[in-house]
Assembly symmetry: C2
Homo-oligomer: 340 residues x 2
């Protein structure tokens, strides 16, 4: 039996509160520019994936973007690095295989060398921010862990196959950081996270080369082997089949209804992926957040960038019940519910 939302509030457990957020976006590049460069019919990107422009790194690295996003989040929260106990990097892409991304982010921050922090990487590919948010909520106790920074810094552009227009035009780069804290004041609550992997879809989204299976020592670079591959049709089928049941179970266990949710922040997987949410429930544009057209799919950074922009623009207000949901490689579905 699940805990009721009201019970969780009354128990005052999981008093997790977003204290501030920030983003870093590299330069924007229009779909027209990519289409022209790669001999793709003009208009393909917008029609097929719903993306007019996205950001792409030039000189930036995961560490650089993550450090800037986190500095912006600290400023937004009126905090300094000293106030943070843990830095969680939540994402799939990285500057180095070793060390982990969170340590690199800390090392690239202004006076990062002066503060020894707990640095931890969490990777559930596109759902990493949601997983990290749940884990952080469980760690925050107001004693050992008072404030945790979650940073999703993703570079998709380097892993895209120039011969596959459907992914080449879909993905974008960017970073977002959130500071979350255990706060006795205020009525912010983390209700629940839930994540399920259905390995039937293990190879529906994959980068085959560059790990131990096809090691670069034995397999020279080739854009097919070393690029992101997506079986869009089968992905969409699986998502359409599994999402309704997943959401029903999630809400039923908390004994809440779709109407109780103020804001839905879905992963910006693709135009087709987003339409599932639009069609499933009668959500209006003030409830269903969306930035695919201007950002593309930024892997794990998509949801936190969109969440940040929705807070800054005033679409999300204190007290709003927010539902963050998406799919990722695995094939996985995940969601978290909290009161902002």
């Amino acid at each position: 039996m699940g805990l009721k939302k009201e019970e969780l509030e009354m128990k005052q457990i999981n008093k997790t509160r977003i204290l501030g957020s920030g983003i870093y976006l590299p330069q924007s590049i229009s779909s027209n520019e990519i289409e022209t460069k790669h001999n793709i019919p003009i208009g393909f990107s917008e029609k097929f994936s719903g993306v007019k422009s996205r950001h792409q790194v030039t000189f930036e690295t995961n560490g650089y973007m993550g450090a800037r996003a986190l500095e912006n989040a600290l400023k937004n929260a009126a905090l300094t690095l000293e106030d943070i106990d843990v830095i969680i990097s939540a994402g799939a892409s990285f500057d180095y295989i070793i060390p982990n991304v969170s340590s690199v982010i800390l090392s690239e921050m202004d006076n990062g060398h002066s503060f020894n922090k707990t640095t931890l990487d969490i990777n559930t590919t596109c759902l990493s921010f949601l997983s990290a948010f749940e884990v952080a909520s469980k760690m925050l106790d107001g004693e050992q862990y008072k404030r945790i920074a979650i940073v999703s810094s993703e570079i998709a552009s380097k892993g895209l196959n120039p011969n596959r227009p459907e992914t080449l035009t879909l993905f974008g780069d960017g970073a977002a950081a959130f500071i979350i804290g255990h706060e006795e004041v205020g009525n912010s609550v983390f209700y629940k996270g839930s994540f399920q992997t259905y390995t039937k879809g293990i190879d529906y989204t994959i980068i085959k080369g560059g790990g131990n299976k096809y090691h670069f020592k034995d397999y020279p670079y080739d854009s097919n082997l070393y690029s992101f591959e997506m079986d869009g049709l089968n992905l969409l089928k699986l998502a359409k089949k599994l999402l309704p049941g997943f959401i029903d179970t999630f809400l039923t266990e908390l004994q809440i209804k779709v109407n109780d949710i103020d804001i839905v922040v879905p992963h910006q997987a693709s135009k087709a992926g987003l339409s599932i949410f639009k069609n499933l429930y009668a959500l209006n544009e003030n409830q269903l957040m969306d930035n695919l057209e201007t950002h593309g799919n930024c892997i794990a950074a998509s949801i936190p960038i969109l969440l940040h922009e929705s807070i800054i623009s005033g679409k999300i207000k204190r007290g709003d019940i927010c539902f963050l949901i998406g799919t990722s490689a695995g094939f996985s579905i995940g969601a978290i519910l909290f009161k902002y």
Copy 2:
């Protein structure tokens, strides 16, 4: 102020209990064999790194070894995959950049496709198992999360530089899995985890190539760029300087003394690294676990393989206070303390 060990036991929080464990080791290869093959003076490995033999993959992948280790752990715990809520992969190496390792492990298990689980990757390089143990202890609530599997499956051998004998002979491959559960019965307790990163040492242990900084699209394979690099001397200096203070703080906050610890399971970083622990405290061989000679440094799998072997051989008994400690890339220090 830290919580006292007794308080934690009385409060009966963090009733985390190891329910079973298992390992998978690929074939063993002697130092003589490696030395002969690579024109390294015979005896160098044992003298320099303290390693006589280690295991190295032939056909195995991270997913394969992890799946076998987890199946062995389930058998050891008299449980089945159905009984597990979450699979955490805790490690630095991987078969694919996407999807994450935990999903690949699930997909390679006997009937893995039949069970949809939460799959989550945690990476603090060599300390990943300790971080995952702490996170799992925070997640386990006996309701949503009753049992969590932590799997560390590491392949170091593919990332070693044939021209650097000191790392070529030091590292090994292998996998270990632990099932931990929230159990009201028994007196097992998770006391505390603590992790600190000092980014002064960010480039003391690094694989430069293969990520977004030196992407394989732009940098063709070369064994120097794409192999693990270690600045052993500076690492050791930093470890020697920081470890005593870190351990003192850890124990003081729990108000316990070194004498209260029954068993120390250190990361098998290197012969010189292990000597720090031997010299720091008056630990006898029944207290300080060690398998460097026969396994080498297996990255994040080192500690759980050694922990498993120490439990199976009877060196660790129910009720023993166990201190797991090590260093990792970052430069990071981390430790967890629990009652087995």
